[in-house]
């Protein structure tokens, strides 16, 4: 895996150099990109799938290491729980659901996804999702099936989302941008972080990232309602997507306020957002307790302000300032909240003040970065969010300055 990761760097650079050459007859790349979008997208997707498959051959993190194994076991355990227990018990600690052992701590959409995949697994390999007995279940076929569920999610959500985003982003531009389009696609699809975390380490970030990307694309093509619905879905798959929320909120609010009928627009958006949330949370809405139970699972404040290896502000400065020792958790929460909000507030104000599409993309990057740097208990994979966004708009800047 390491080799692959290191080698990919120079390849992209050299190929960028090749790709940007003017002669259309120069190389195979130009030939591929001079064709219709579907054909080069097919080529690139096939290659991206190949890389994913090859990475998936390697062991996932935590393989053969009891007692907790790793994220693979967490995902498998969620499938086990969701397949075998009624919806109401998914987030509740009980004799059959020990939340201490990889308790479900993602929003309901993840649980539904686990349920769906769990049903598939149950059909093909019942032993891998049987209650209790399947803990630490590792087998050739089990691993293969799990890898397949990730690949399928990737293919069904992330890839179409990327295609959607790229077509929207480059719509109205001249055909000369075709090569850029293809490179842009390649940059997003071959993003080593996403591939390694999803297909190597084992997670399902492709779903929430894909939904977010689709939401961005929808908003860029002025389908605000669709966009906000997709973003709510992303938010309900991984709460981490909230990193983007200020930008979405600021942009959509700013845009609505500039419409002819601001209150109606805001109401429409609010209705869509609340409706999506209600739909996803439906099984937990019957009582306040049930909802709070789920909510409490989603916010892991007990873990401390930073993990020891996440390269954010708190961890970096802890070399000098021992945050954890100097302040109480309560105070730290407040501190990180203040820092995060103050870091992303300029972007939000800017977006509300003048909601442009370019500003929206930049706002997404700003907000996600400020969350990554300053918020409480950042998971290392969160860097995916700014990274993904960065890839989507920095491309343009790179081109205009570089060539």
């Amino acid at each position: 895996m390491e080799h692959g990761k290191k080698k990919r760097g120079p390849k992209i650079q050299t190929s960028t150099a090749v790709g940007s050459e003017s002669d259309p007859d120069a190389n195979i790349w130009s030939f591929i990109t001079s064709r219709s979008t579907s054909s080069w997208f097919l080529c690139i997707s096939l290659f991206a799938v190949l890389i994913r498959l090859a990475v998936a051959l390697h062991p996932y993190s935590g393989a053969h290491t009891p007692p907790m194994f790793g994220d693979y076991e967490a995902q498998r355990h969620w499938m086990e729980i969701t397949v075998n227990l009624p919806v109401k018990d998914w987030y509740r600690n009980s004799s059959v659901n020990d939340l201490g052992y990889w308790g479900l701590d993602y929003p309901p959409l993840t649980a539904y996804q686990s349920y769906f995949h769990g049903v598939l697994l149950k059909f093909f390999d019942p032993a891998s999702v049987s209650l209790f007995t399947s803990r630490g279940y590792e087998s050739y076929i089990g691993k293969l099936l799990m890898r397949w569920t990730v690949l399928m999610s990737d293919l069904m959500i992330f890839f179409p989302a990327v295609l959607y985003f790229i077509t929207v982003y480059y719509s109205g531009k001249t055909t000369g941008d075709r090569s850029n389009m293809a490179w842009h696609t390649l940059m997003i699809l071959l993003n080593p972080c996403i591939i390694l975390i999803d297909h190597g380490h084992f997670q399902y970030n492709c779903i929430s990232l894909g939904l977010t990307l689709a939401a961005v694309a929808a908003i860029l093509s002025d389908r605000d309602l669709v966009g906000s619905m997709l973003f709510c879905l992303a938010l309900n798959h991984k709460q981490m997507s909230a990193y983007y929320a200020p930008a979405f909120f600021g942009y959509l609010l700013g845009k609505s306020l500039r419409r002819k009928n601001p209150i109606l627009e805001v109401l429409k958006l609010g209705f869509v957002v609340l409706g999506t949330f209600a739909l996803v949370w439906w099984p937990y809405l019957h009582s306040m307790d049930a909802s709070l139970e789920v909510l409490s699972r989603l916010a892991p404040f007990e873990r401390g302000i930073y993990e020891d290896y996440v390269a954010n502000f708190w961890c970096a400065t802890s070399v000098v300032v021992k945050w954890k020792r100097l302040f109480s958790t309560q105070l730290l929460k407040l501190l990180s909240l203040t820092a995060t909000v103050s870091a992303c507030i300029p972007s939000m104000i800017q977006l509300m003040w003048s909601p442009t599409k370019r500003g929206f993309l930049q706002g997404l990057l700003n907000c996600s970065l400020s969350f990554y740097l300053f918020s409480f208990q950042v998971h290392e994979k969160s860097i995916l969010l700014p990274f993904c966004q960065q890839a989507s708009w920095l491309w343009k800047n790179h081109l205009s300055s570089g060539g």
Partner: protein, 576 residues
């Protein structure tokens, strides 16, 4: 790996990136499935490392005895210097048996990947010489370096074909430049690496004889002596030491074990499949008619066939017969080479040429049984698809590019209106490719289902047995199959393998025949040659020394690699 070329600055950087991308994928494939050939090559490392040269070809510690020509043994010896430093157990003759530590795997895989640099260089060198447009260069590079056949055989299955193929290309590139002596030298070296490449030897011989050894009797004879002595020196360097130790007989017996029979369980889709089917059919017919036919003891699916004739009715095919068939089959090539020895045509002859692209896809498809584990299944499919798509784009843009009427538009299978020889896959090619899809789906899922159902309804006397079979089938469908279970083939599996091979053969045969008709009209190729392709596969494989699936399929792989390399070359030669 290679120096930047003088001609154009783009190209030097050009070959780097297909090569790098391929290397990345190869490195990622390190933990993938590997066949017994991995152990074979490890054992050879051990043999060459721990035994004196005189015992290399007589050692039988492991069942995977050394059976490649001496240069390959020297190559293993060279590798074993490093191998013993990486992990001493790897090169231990006894302790190393079936040894596969992480370092061993890494070392072996890396050695294959590194040796591929010769292939990269030779592909670069070959395309440097002829007047290719830079796009054609890229296409050839991408197709050579990205060959799914190579990926499957070398980097998953585990063998060292990349650099051997590279050496062949190197030899061809010298011939194209007119440096016949050097080209001949490299080919002789190649023969001492892997005698499989002897299939190209007659063509080489005729070509060199007619092209190099001409210009009067005296000069011609002098050159004949010169090139003969070059070849002799190479062979002496390879076999000399063994001759010195009196090992020649062992070496030859290892290299050509004719006792293993004509075909193997996983039939290479070749001519002899039809022969065997005919035999089975005749035997069946004669038994029905009341004749007393002894069913042969040896079966074609057992792997080791032994001495008894596996044929019930038809005469046994001896190595001599297959040799004669091969010579007959390639004679059109030889005649052509004899009459018109042009350097730029050289790459065509050994490879009988100008197949329509679907042909390659089928050829690679015929390698599929090499990787039968579920984990590698998607990888081989994606590799094949990627290759097919690239090839399709490459060829479809290569031809309309001249007419510019269809440039930029995706050329679908339909005939387009341009007058220039536009690339198109006609209705036949399409049905051919879709037939492939059908064969795969049939082979993977439908076949068992249909067979089992038929068996269930027709043979009601033994219901329980078929119920078990049905349950087994469902188990396979549900991917419950473990590696060990797959090894124990049931009769159904074997029938399946046979049927699949037969279908592929028919598809290939028909495709070659009809494809030639279409393709022949387009680029003016030599259609007769193509028809013999199947025979060549067949006969050469009978001379193959170890009846393993690997050898046969590898054989196909190597030949296919020849074919597709030569196509861009030859077509360019025609058009340019």
């Amino acid at each position: 790996m290679e120096k930047p070329p003088n001609s154009s600055h783009q190209i030097g950087g050009g070959i780097w990136w297909p090569a790098l991308v391929a290397t990345v994928v190869k490195l990622l494939l390190i933990p993938a499935y590997r066949s017994t050939d991995f152990e074979v090559h490890r054992n050879w490392l051990a043999i060459t490392h721990s035994l004196p040269l005189s015992r290399w070809y007589s050692d039988t510690t492991s069942q995977w005895t050394l059976d490649y020509p001496p240069f390959f043994a020297y190559f293993e010896k060279f590798l074993s210097f490093f191998a013993s430093r990486v992990d001493p157990t790897m090169t231990h003759l006894h302790h190393g048996l079936n040894y596969a530590s992480e370092r061993t795997i890494l070392f072996q895989r890396l050695s294959v990947t590194l040796s591929d640099s010769i292939l990269v260089y030779s592909a670069y060198r070959l395309t440097r010489n002829i007047n290719f447009s830079s796009f054609e260069r890229f296409l050839i590079w991408a197709l050579v370096i990205w060959s799914p056949g190579l990926f499957i055989v070398d980097h998953l299955h585990f063998q060292y074909n990349g650099f051997l193929l590279g050496m062949l290309l190197l030899s061809i590139s010298f011939l194209e430049e007119g440096k016949d002596l050097v080209g001949g030298f490299f080919f002789a070296v190649l023969l001492c690496f892997k005698h499989l490449f002897a299939v190209a030897a007659p063509v080489y011989f005729v070509y060199l004889f007619r092209h190099y050894c001409r210009g009067g009797l005296v000069k011609g004879f002098g050159r004949l002596v010169l090139i003969g002595s070059v070849v002799l020196v190479v062979f002496a360097a390879a076999y000399g030491p063994f001759l010195y130790y009196g090992q020649m007989q062992e070496v030859l017996r290892r290299m050509f074990p004719f006792g293993r029979g004509l075909c193997h369980a996983y039939w290479a889709p070749n001519f002899w499949v039809f022969y065997i089917m005919l035999d089975k059919f005749l035997a069946f017919l004669l038994v029905k008619l009341g004749f007393n036919i002894q069913a042969p003891k040896a079966s074609f699916t057992g792997g080791l066939v032994g001495d008894s004739s596996p044929f019930a009715v038809l005469p046994t095919v001896t190595p001599l017969i297959t040799f004669i068939t091969v010579l007959l089959a390639i004679s059109p090539c030889l005649v052509k080479a004899w009459r018109n020895p042009q350097p730029r045509m050289v790459s065509k002859w050994p490879f009988k040429i100008s197949f329509p692209p679907p042909r390659y896809t089928v050829s690679f498809y015929s390698l599929f049984p090499l990787l039968f584990e579920a984990q590698e299944y998607p990888i081989k499919v994606v590799l094949l698809l990627l290759h097919a798509v690239l090839m399709f784009f490459g060829f479809s843009s290569r031809f309309p590019a001249r007419s510019a009427t269809t440039a930029g538009a995706l050329v679908k299978g339909r005939d387009n209106t341009s007058e220039t020889p536009a690339f198109h896959i006609g209705w036949f090619g399409k049905s051919y490719l879709f037939g492939l899809l059908f064969v795969e789906i049939w082979g993977q899922f439908l076949h068992r289902m249909v067979l089992v159902c038929v068996a269930h309804f027709w043979v009601t006397s033994d219901n329980r047995k078929y119920e078990t079979t049905i349950r087994n089938w469902f188990c396979t469908l549900r991917l419950d199959v473990k590696q060990a279970e797959i090894q124990n083939y049931t009769m159904g599996d074997l029938v399946l393998a046979k049927l699949r091979a037969l279908l592929i053969s028919i598809l290939m045969g028909a495709g070659v025949f009809l494809g030639t008709r279409r393709g022949g009209a387009r680029v003016g190729s030599i259609p007769q040659h193509v028809k013999y392709e199947g025979v060549i596969h067949g006969s050469a494989s009978s001379a193959d020394y170890r009846g393993t699936i690997t050898r046969l399929l590898l054989h196909v792989a190597v030949r296919i690699d020849f074919c597709y390399v030569s196509v861009p070359v030859s077509e360019t030669a025609e058009l340019g």
